[in-house]
Amino acid sequence: MRKSLILIISFFILIALIFLVDLAIFIEPASKPVNVLISNLTDRQATVSWTSDKATRGSILISDNNQFPPVIIFAKKADKYEESTAQQGFYMVHSINLTDLKPNTNYNYRIYQGFKAAYQDSFQTGLTLDTILTPNPVYGKIKEAGKNPVVGAIVSLQLVSLEGTRSAILSTLSNQQGGWSIDLANARSTDLQKSFLLDKKTREEIIVERGIGEKVKESTSSGYDQPWPDVILK
């Protein structure tokens, strides 16, 4: 009799817990990731960024064998705030840096919005190059039309040679003053097999994006990039 009672109580507690977890999952804001971008792709790192139409908790799970656990408990990587504080922020612009990857390896990644898996795709890391370039950071400011700094916008940069050859994409987020910097020494060819070498005629194109619909594209040439002319996000 007593055993039955304990079983019944345990059952109800379990039901309540499940209900609570479900409720949490249900009320968690979620949104379909758009503008998903793989950038800064080298032999050992990559950046996955995307935007959402509402503020969500974004996280990523990666796998080199396409196996993902059925429910995400601990994300491999999440929006940066979580990394250091074990708290997760709600953002409309997401950018997650994946490090310690293996060279020349195919990775599947899955984007989670809160508890929900919202997107899945893959990328391939490059080889480790035999040479390394010295740093070459270019930098600038993103501002609103009213000259206020734009915080947390994705700045993605691509180098374009005179012949029209494009580099793989590099990206960063604008800081609290609207500043951004990207090191061109990290630029590679789109197949990631070699460094993308610059000359005076190389053009630099950036796309700045803060949430859905807020996007601007600008370009400049080498020599006018330290700093870049201010980019106004309309």
Partner: protein, 1245 residues
């Protein structure tokens, strides 16, 4: 069985109860401990408990803490716990991380592997924390609320903004949406909600205020109506009105009410009131308690506190509401009756009072403007603007005149206008020149120097305003010609320091007029003999009272008489002998002092007569030089005139005597007492004004005015009578004189109360900003004399108030007509404003003290005031003499007025006697500059300048200490101020160049940081560091024209000679090409007084940065946590410039970029030992930092792929291949490398 069971049950029950009790007890104890902990925390935070270091508020040794500021000793039970807790609470995570590390490395010096590992681990952790704390802040900034939260928040905001009540459910809904948000998002929405809430509350409060105003107006109306009917009102109705008005109970006996009222009126009260309504009428009168049991009479002197307690809650509520809703408190307060405002003020909370105070001060500033905030040289600026305006007008007229279509009449009218403007320009320009001249000479009107400066017109500005550029030009010239340098370093241009030019005036005058031939010793008997004779004939005992003390008054009179008999038989200078006797009788060891000074007077007299002031050379005996220097500052002699005031040699000697003795006693004490008295009076006056409803700002700024803006020129009465106006045509000169320029001359005998009086003139009317008020008054009154009369009347009235408060009789000035005018004007004000006489008077006084006379005249009515003045013709004709009549002894006035000002600024400053000479000199030297050759003030050689500097030194001494004794002067004279000078400081040397522009000294070998102060309009380049070994190491100081920058150049100074000992030589040169190096052909600058400090660098490591990319690594463990941002900041601080630091992470570069103080990166990262970093420097520089040497190599964890590594220390020799790289090169200690590693490895180098 049953019984047993029952017993068991009872036992179990008791046991359960006990257990519960125990648990509850434990919980309670636990709770109490928590409370204790919190309480301790509060106390701890309040006292900032330190660990015994100097400078902390509380110093603790063990568990006992003491404080210098409070006379308490605190015993702390758990000091360590408190300190730990406080740090957590008071510091940001970043600060905590830095502090933790700093303490760790200080507590645990690196001596072995273990301590190194511990320090490294602390460094890595703290550096990571520091970098991440920024990331967290950034993440918060970036975070946004989700859509659901935004919707809920918007609903809440719109409800709040309407001022509607928000249902609990709505709050709960909103609160539940915040749970998952980032802190940044929560802050954002919370601030929006708070803003909406404030808006809603403001709307509510405004509504309330409007309601309250209507009620107040109704009450006032009722009261006014009742008063209108008062005289014809039947007794019973009167009683009923009073009862109603004062909220007395309906059952109150009407006769009793009337009886109290009559009694109150008989006792002199203006009004009768009680309870809350008491605050609606003036400050004096009767307060009746609501139960009619007693009443309080408030007169001008007492019971104010009783009165203050009756503030009505309604007004308090209104003010409180106004504070909360951010209304204009100043306007609100201005609209209240003064006494009401005071009551309300004292009924407010301390925080609310602060708000009111702030609003009142700001409001006063806005209205009074210039009267509150000093604007230097305002007069000159205004005049300049006027000239510009007129010139522009004239140019326009000239253009119009070119029009051929003008009629003759139009042409004539334009010409008239043109010439009228031209005349005004000339007049204003004259004023400008006078202003400039007065400013130059310290504001002393009519002095020869001022006259001369004025006469020279624009030349005054050209020749007298000198700057460091002029000095540099002169020094360059001297350097080229190999001449002896005579120039001193300066922080400010000379014209900023008034009073420099009096000395030039003396020297120039001295050159021309002093030294007229006289026969030495033409007085048969020396001053010494005469003094001896006088003293021998005085029997002190004759002046002793019955209790044995000396009757100083009688003694002084007798001594004065005897001195007069000997020195001044014709009684020409009785005041001088009188004062001499006074000083002697008032000074300890007076006889000896007098004799000593008499001897000096003899010699000084002879010297002065034969050689004059210009005859003072380095060979002149020190005491003579000292005496003459002293005379220039505090003397009855008109040194600049080249003669003693008294032509009679005997009289001259007594003048010298008097001056010398006076040095010992000085005027400082005299004026200190006077000023303190004035300050006290003003404070009392301020309190009075506050208590009586006036704006605290109206009086409170006066002491400040005295201290900072006083332009008094205190002169002796004999000067006023005999010199200032030799024809004695103006009887008014004995007290105050306001010459044309608006400066104030006051007799030295002026007492404290009068000083207050003069201050009101001097500070509010005559000095800089207050000239505005005076001009405004003149404009309104139509003439200056009329304006002065109004001013005088009100000022006298204010003074009388002050005198009454201090319980002293008011001054006996004979300004009867002026006072009458003021009184009548006040009556007129009361009428026009519809207020009581007291209120009008209070208003008039407040406006007077604020200098807002124009407002007074406006209130009373311009025409009315004019007619009042006409009815009260002044009885002080010729009170304002013309400029031509003004002649004052410049040097004396300056000395006294400056001493007075300085006294007020630094009341208790008393540098230690002679030990303070050198620092004084260093301060002073900044005030003396080289002159252009064409200037009248050109100093021919270094002796002249040295002399000048010493004069300034003595003067500074006089100003700051109030003393200027002969010992000091003697010591001063011995100093060779243009000799190079080296002083040991805590960690190095402080070196000052001599007149050759250099200074050399032995110094301990080692590395030193070089520091130098900025110099206006010059650019200086010095090496940032100097490495001193044996031989002489040169520290070149490159100087050239510029904008006042000091730039540190990269590279160390090199030794230039051999030898056993280490020496350093600091030398200035003119940096012709501006490259900071002493190139061939560039000349030395013989510039004395350049001060350079060399501070030894301890445990300092240096990283040399060349222009472009540098691969660096940390050679030691830094004593401070260093991030990329810190590194760039430190490089800039140390005179370098670098824009980026890059680190290699996961085979990719991550850069932190700062350019022109702008951060361009979002990821800061720690700078760690064992890693290498690229630094992009935009110029060559040296970066130094302190840290500990490693005891053993730093272990490295190298990942597969590219790694940037540094090796501060190696335990063995190895090659790159040993690390897993393909290359064969040898790894060297303290170098940095980029290595491609095939397989990750833990490596111990």
């Amino acid at each position: 069985m049953e019984i047993l069971n029952r017993k068991k049950i009872i036992s179990i029950g008791v046991l359960v109860i006990l257990l519960i009790g125990l648990i509850v007890g434990v919980i309670l104890v636990q709770k109490q401990q928590i409370f204790k902990s919190r309480a301790s925390l509060q106390i701890y935070n309040a006292f900032n408990v330190g660990s015994g270091e100097a400078g902390k508020y509380v110093n603790c040794t063990g568990n006992v803490c003491k404080t210098n500021t409070l006379n308490v000793t605190i015993s702390v039970a758990d000091l360590q716990a408190l300190e730990t807790t406080s740090e957590v609470i008071s510091q940001t995570p970043e600060q905590t991380a830095r502090e933790d590390y700093f303490q760790t490395v200080n507590d645990e010096p690196i001596v072995d592997d273990q301590s190194q590992n511990s320090a490294l681990s602390a460094y890595f952790k703290s550096a990571q924390d520091v970098a991440e704390s920024e990331d967290q802040e950034y993440a918060r900034e970036r975070g946004l609320p989700d859509a659901q939260t935004l919707g809920t928040t918007q609903n809440l905001i719109s409800t709040l903004e309407k001022g509607l009540d928000v249902p609990d459910e709505m709050w709960q809904d909103w609160g539940s949406t915040l749970g998952n948000l980032s802190q940044g998002a929560v802050d954002l929405v919370a601030s929006q909600v708070q803003e909406a809430q404030e808006k809603g509350e403001q709307a509510k409060a405004q509504e309330e205020l409007a309601k309250a105003e209507v009620v107040a107006a109704q009450q006032q109306e009722k009261y006014t109506q009742a008063l209108d009917r008062w005289s014809g009102m039947p007794a019973l109705e009167r009683a009923e009105t009073l009862r109603e008005y004062y909220n007395l109970p309906p059952s109150t006996d009407p006769e009793q009410v009337l009886s109290f009222y009559d009694k109150a009126m008989t006792l002199g009260g203006v009004e009768f009131r009680s309870g809350p309504q008491a605050s609606t009428v003036g400050p004096y009168g009767v307060h009746l308690n609501t139960d009619l049991s007693s009443f309080i009479i408030t007169d001008t002197k007492g019971s104010v506190s009783e009165y203050l307690s009756t503030a009505t809650p309604d007004l308090v509520g209104i003010v409180q509401g106004a504070i909360e809703t951010g209304q204009n408190l100043y306007e609100l307060y201005q609209s209240m009756p003064p006494e009401k405002a005071v009551e309300v003020y004292f009924s407010l909370s301390p925080e609310a009072r602060d708000k009111v105070n702030e609003a009142m001060l700001n409001g006063t500033k806005e209205i009074a403007g210039a009267a509150v905030q000093m604007v230097p040289f305002l007069g000159t600026n205004i005049l300049s603007e006027r000239v510009n305006g007129l010139n522009s007008n004239m140019a326009q007229i000239a253009e119009k005149l070119k029009d051929p279509n003008l009629t003759e009449e139009e042409r004539e009218a334009l010409k008239q206008e043109y010439f009228s403007s031209l005349n005004e320009v000339q007049d204003v320009k004259k004023d400008l020149v006078l202003n400039a001249a007065f400013d130059l000479v310290g504001g002393v009107p009519g002095s020869a120097l001022a006259q001369k400066a004025a006469g020279k017109g624009s030349l005054a500005a050209k020749t007298l305003f000198v700057d460091t550029k002029t000095a540099l030009q002169a020094a360059k010239q001297a350097g080229k010609e190999g001449l002896e340098g005579v120039w001193a370093r300066g922080q400010r241009v000379a014209t900023e320091e008034r009073g420099n030019w009096d000395v030039f005036g003396l020297l120039r005058k001295g050159k021309g007029e002093v030294g007229k031939p006289v026969t030495p010793g033409n007085s048969d008997v020396s001053a010494v003999e005469k003094v001896k004779d006088v003293l021998s004939r005085i029997d002190e005992d004759q002046f002793r009272t019955s209790n044995g003390t000396l009757d100083l008054r009688a003694y002084k009179q007798d001594l004065s008489l005897r001195l007069s008999e000997v020195f001044d038989p014709e009684g020409v200078i009785p005041e001088v002998t009188d004062r001499l006797a006074y000083w002697v009788s008032d000074t300890r060891n007076s006889r000896e002092l007098l004799l000593e000074q008499a001897e000096l007077a003899d010699r000084a007299y002879t010297f002065f007569r034969t050689k004059g002031i210009h005859g003072v050379t380095p060979e002149t005996p020190q005491d003579i030089k000292g005496a003459i220097d002293a005379l220039k500052y505090d003397s009855e002699l008109f040194v600049r005139e080249g003669r003693f005031r008294s032509k009679n040699p005997d009289e001259a000697k007594v003048e010298i005597l008097q001056a010398l003795v006076k040095q010992e006693v000085n005027m400082r004490g005299h004026f200190r007492i006077a000023l303190e008295d004035v300050t006290e009076t003003l404070d009392t006056l301020k309190d009075f004004s506050v208590k009586h409803g006036e704006n605290p700002g109206s009086f409170s700024h006066i002491p400040q005015v005295i201290e900072n803006r006083s332009r008094f020129h205190v002169v002796d009465e004999d000067v006023l009578f005999k010199v200032y106006n030799p024809k004695k045509e103006s009887p008014g000169l004995s007290g105050l004189t306001i010459p044309e320029d608006g400066n104030i001359l006051v007799g030295t005998w002026t007492g404290a109360q009068d000083l207050l009086h003069e201050c009101i003139h001097g500070c509010d009317l005559a000095a800089d900003t207050s000239r505005m008020a005076r001009r405004a008054l003149v404009e309104v009154m139509g003439s200056r004399s009329e304006a002065d009369r109004v001013m005088e009347g009100f000022v006298t009235r204010v003074e009388e108030f002050g005198a009454t408060l201090r319980g002293k009789a008011s001054s006996s000035h004979s300004f009867g007509p002026e006072v009458n005018s003021a009184e009548q004007t006040i009556i007129q004000m009361a009428e026009n404003l519809g207020v009581s006489l007291d209120k009008a008077r209070a208003k008039a006084i407040a406006l007077t003290v604020q200098g807002r006379f124009d407002e007074i005249v406006k209130i009373a009515g311009v025409e009315k005031v004019k007619s009042i003045l006409k009815e009260n013709p002044t009885n002080i004709p010729g009170r304002f003499p013309t400029n031509e009549a003004i002649v004052t002894p410049l040097e004396r006035n300056l000395a006294i007025s400056e001493a007075l000002e300085d006294l007020a600024r630094a009341k208790e400053v008393r540098p230690q006697d002679n030990s303070g000479l050198v620092p004084f000199w260093n301060l002073l030297i900044g005030e003396v500059f080289a002159q252009g050759e064409n200037s009248d003030n050109f100093l021919p050689n270094s002796s002249s300048l040295e002399h000048l500097v010493k004069l300034k030194l003595a003067k500074r001494r006089l100003e700051t200490t109030g003393y200027l004794d002969n010992h000091y002067i003697g010591d001063l004279m011995k100093i060779n101020i243009f000799a190079p000078e080296t002083t040991e400081i805590a960690d190095g040397l402080s070196m000052i160049t001599g007149k050759a522009g250099n200074v050399e000294s032995e110094i301990e070998a080692g590395k030193y940081k070089v520091e130098i102060g900025e110099m206006a309009d010059l650019d200086i380049k010095i090496p940032a560091f100097v490495e001193i070994k044996s031989g002489v190491t040169l520290v070149p100081i490159a100087i050239r024209e510029g904008s006042g920058k000091v730039e540190k150049t990269a590279g160390l100074s090199r030794g230039i000679g051999g030898g056993e000992t280490a020496k350093v030589k600091v030398a200035a040169f003119y940096d012709e090409n501006g490259n900071g190096r002493w190139d061939s052909g560039e000349k030395a600058l013989p510039w004395a007084g350049i001060q350079v400090t060399l501070s030894k660098v301890t445990q300092e490591k240096t990283i040399y940065l060349k222009e472009g990319w540098n691969l660096i690594s940390l050679p030691v463990l830094p004593s401070q946590v260093m991030t990329a941002k810190d590194l760039l900041g430190q490089i800039a601080k140390q005179g370098g410039s670098a824009t980026a630091v890059s680190t290699l992470e996961n085979g990719s570069w991550k850069s932190y970029v700062v350019k022109d103080h702008q951060d361009y990166s979002s990821d800061n990262f720690p700078i760690e030992p064992g890693k290498a970093y690229f630094v992009n420097a935009s110029k060559r520089s040296i970066f130094s930092f302190t840290g500990q040497e490693f005891a053993s190599p730093v272990k490295l964890f190298l990942k597969q792929g590219w790694n940037a590594v540094g090796f501060p220390i190696l335990s063995r020799q190895f090659k790159a291949r040993d690390l897993g790289a393909k290359e064969e090169f040898t790894i060297e200690e303290n170098k940095s490398y980029l290595l491609k590693i095939e397989k990750e490895i833990d490596f111990n180098p």
